[in-house]
């Protein structure tokens, strides 16, 4: 074994290490430390501390740069943790290569890596991450996309920034304290961003990334997304204003639809309100602001087909953004719905309207007919209008011109639009933590042994795509500002104020919607965690005690 010491400390070290080879077990290594500390007083005095080195520690023979103090302290803590957990010390003690202990930082580093040879996918953060900005493999990196070779735990980390000489590549042992520390670090970082203390924010965000990698499950993913969003804000690497294509957004939302009940809940409860509003009417027209793949409408069409007295003529107008590529996505969805309508013998007419934003919509273009009853439906679209002043009011006034029997609105139940960044950050951290928590339960949740077949968990890919879907929202809430920040969620109370000043009043959703929603949730794995609540006639779906999604219905006053 190569021993590499500076000559003036050689005496100290051979003495210490020989005692460790003869001792058994863990005590050997701690003796080394005790010996080194104890013998430090015997070292030659008069060594002048160099500039930048901490004077007090230099006085006892340790060279530690002041700027490294924090890192060194952290490493000492980790070393303690690792020493406490390690079982194979006797083997290590005889094989190890000991480095110059006065260079405390790298000595600690060597001790840690020797004692804890199992690499727990450390996230190595250095400045080269800045170049990987558009790639989720930045700080989020391994936390979200664990390297394929999960079983080969000794393989080195595969991120681009794996320069192993980086003294900050600390290997962490998972602990609950790290979880709490992680939340505090994220909050402290947000506060630093709020106060424009960029240096501090940079340090904290890197720390957060490292701590996130030591966590497991939902906490790890949420923290990684928030850390990435903070980093984007700090380094001003905003997600490109050329947003993802609508096709990709639709795809992500489809996976979210399949993985967890939120969207299904939204569709079923809104449909129930529309069904009741259409009761007894022969010609009905639905104007959908959130057309996407049209997943909401088959269930409504089927309910209309089977209603007593037979189905009405059903007209659907779908509003959506331009497809980007040359396909007419809105029209294609219309074709499929028409096929379904034909199959179940419902008279159906469809038209699609392309609009960059709902603000551009003119009711006159919609071919509204006098003998029809209109319903307007919006799922997760209203909050985006808050990014432009006056937009919501304009759209609500356009809706009034459509003279709807009912307006159904589904929105996230959270205030992510406050004027103070730190408050938005805190709110969204709690909101998305709860949401990710519920996603975790959908992966193999429940007890599995149900008569009639097992509960099939959401596939891993569905889950990951759902997480990406939510991650993009997180990034928007935290990193963007101005017209780019479109995820401006508001609570029911706030929406109520807006709708009422826009000339609408609430329509109570009724017990049928409530019972149907409860039944739907009972079908989901992890069903115990989901809760339906009625709130002032609106229905809220939440995870345990936290409401996450609200369906509400409105009519013109």
């Amino acid at each position: 074994m190569k021993r590499d010491y500076q000559s003036q400390y050689y005496t100290v070290f051979t003495g210490a290490s020989s005692s460790s080879t003869s001792a058994a077990g863990g005590s050997g290594v701690s003796d080394v430390r005790a010996d080194v500390a104890g013998k430090s007083k015997m070292w030659v005095e008069g060594k002048q501390p160099e500039a930048g080195y901490d004077e007090l520690l230099a006085g006892v023979g340790y060279e530690v740069k002041s700027s490294d103090m924090f890192d060194v302290a952290q490493k000492i803590e980790h070393l303690e943790g690792v020493l406490g957990n390690d079982d194979g010390l006797s083997q290590i003690a005889s094989d190890s290569v000991h480095y110059n202990p006065s260079d405390l930082s790298s000595w600690l580093e060597s001790m840690i890596s020797e004692l804890n040879p199992i690499v727990q996918q450390p996230v190595v953060i250095d400045d080269s991450f800045v170049n990987a900005a558009d790639d989720l493999q930045a700080i989020a990196g391994n936390a979200i996309y664990p390297p394929e070779a999960k079983k080969q735990k000794t393989s080195p980390p595969s991120t681009a920034a794996s320069s192993s000489t980086n003294p900050n590549a600390i290997v962490l042992v998972d602990s609950q304290e790290n979880g709490i520390r992680l939340v505090h670090t994220l909050m402290a970082c947000a506060e630093a961003v709020q106060k424009d203390e960029i240096q501090l924010a940079e340090t904290l965000v890197k720390q957060a990334g490292i701590l996130a990698a030591s966590q497991a499950g939902a906490m790890r993913k949420v923290a990684a997304y928030f850390a990435e969003a903070l980093a984007r804000r700090i380094y001003r690497l905003y997600p490109s204003s050329q947003r993802d294509s609508p096709a990709f957004q639709d795809l992500l939302q489809m996976h979210f639809y399949e993985t967890c009940p939120y969207l299904k809940f939204a569709h079923f409860t809104a449909n129930q309100a529309i069904l009741e509003a259409f009761s007894g009417k022969n010609k009905v027209h639905v104007i959908d602001f959130s057309m996407k793949q049209g997943m909401q409408w088959p269930a409504l069409m089927q309910a209309l087909a089977l209603r007593p007295g037979g189905p009405p003529t059903f007209r659907l107008t779908g509003i959506g953004p331009p497809s980007g590529d040359n396909t007419d996505h809105l029209q294609e969805v219309g074709w499929k719905l028409a096929q379904l309508a034909n199959t179940i013998h419902v008279e159906f007419e469809y038209r699609g309207y392309i609009a960059e934003s709902l603000v551009d919509l003119e009711p006159a273009v919609l071919d509204l007919r006098d003998d029809e009853v209109v319903a307007v439906n919006s799922v997760f679209e209203m909050h985006q209008l808050l990014a432009r002043p006056g937009a919501v009011e304009k759209v609500l006034s356009a809706v009034k011109d459509m003279k709807p029997e009912i307006l159904t609105v589904v929105e996230q139940e959270a205030n992510h639009n406050g004027p103070v960044f730190l408050e938005r950050f805190t709110e969204s951290l709690h909101y998305y933590s709860t949401l990710f928590d519920s996603l975790e339960s959908s992966g193999g949740g429940g007890d599995g042994a149900v008569e009639g077949g097992g509960i099939l968990p959401a596939s891993a890919q569905d889950k990951i795509m759902s997480e990406v879907y939510l991650g993009k929202q997180i990034c928007n809430v935290v990193a963007c500002e101005g017209p780019d920040r479109v995820e401006r969620h508001q609570t029911l109370t706030q929406w109520k104020t807006r709708f009422e000043s826009g000339g609408f009043e609430a329509v109570h959703l009724g017990s049928n919607a409530y019972k149907q929603a409860s039944m739907l949730l009972a079908l989901f794995a992890g069903g115990d965690g989901y809760r339906v609540e009625e709130n002032n006639g609106c229905l809220m779906l939440g995870w345990h005690t936290r409401p996450l999604i609200t369906t509400s219905a409105w009519k013109i006053r």
Binding site: F268, L306, P308, L340, E451, L456, K515, M519, L520
Partner: protein
């Protein structure tokens, strides 16, 4: 020995009282039984015999159009029933209510639409449900 195969109407009476799994097993007995069991009306009976009041008139044409009662049973009814009464034994014959039936039919329709979206043919349909119903359980193909 009573030749049950010569008295198909009696055979059907008996089969109508079976649960899904037993029907599946019955289909494996011989070719005649197999073709009788494949008859969708047996499965209609299985789906809705517990329903009180019985489903509305238009239901049959909708169900047949969306894939038939056997598929409805395999893809929706069975998983929904087993989820909703998790813990009770299957021997206890459960009475459906209207609301559960409506929800089940809606899910069936969504599943049909999803297969349409997927671009694959919906004629005949695979035995396994489209993704939107994977949150229930995977239908077990009992050899039909």
């Amino acid at each position: 020995m009573f030749p049950i195969n010569d008295h198909v109407d009696l055979l059907i009476e008996v089969l109508q009282r079976l649960d899904g799994r037993s029907l599946g097993a019955a289909a494996c007995v011989c070719r005649q039984w197999c073709s009788i069991v494949r008859n969708d009306s047996l499965w209609e009976h299985l789906c809705f015999r517990q329903l009180s009041p019985p489903p509305s008139v238009g239901t049959r044409s909708v169900v047949l159009a969306l894939g038939g009662y056997r598929r409805l049973y395999m893809v929706c009814v069975r998983p929904v029933v087993s989820r909703l009464k998790a813990g009770e034994s299957e021997v206890v014959r459960r009475v459906w209510n209207q609301r559960e039936m409506e929800l089940t039919l809606s899910l069936f329709c969504v599943e049909y639409y999803e297969r349409l979206l997927g671009g694959g043919g919906v004629v005949g349909g695979g035995e396994s449900p489209a993704k939107s119903l994977k949150f229930l359980c995977q239908a077990v193909n009992v050899g039909l």
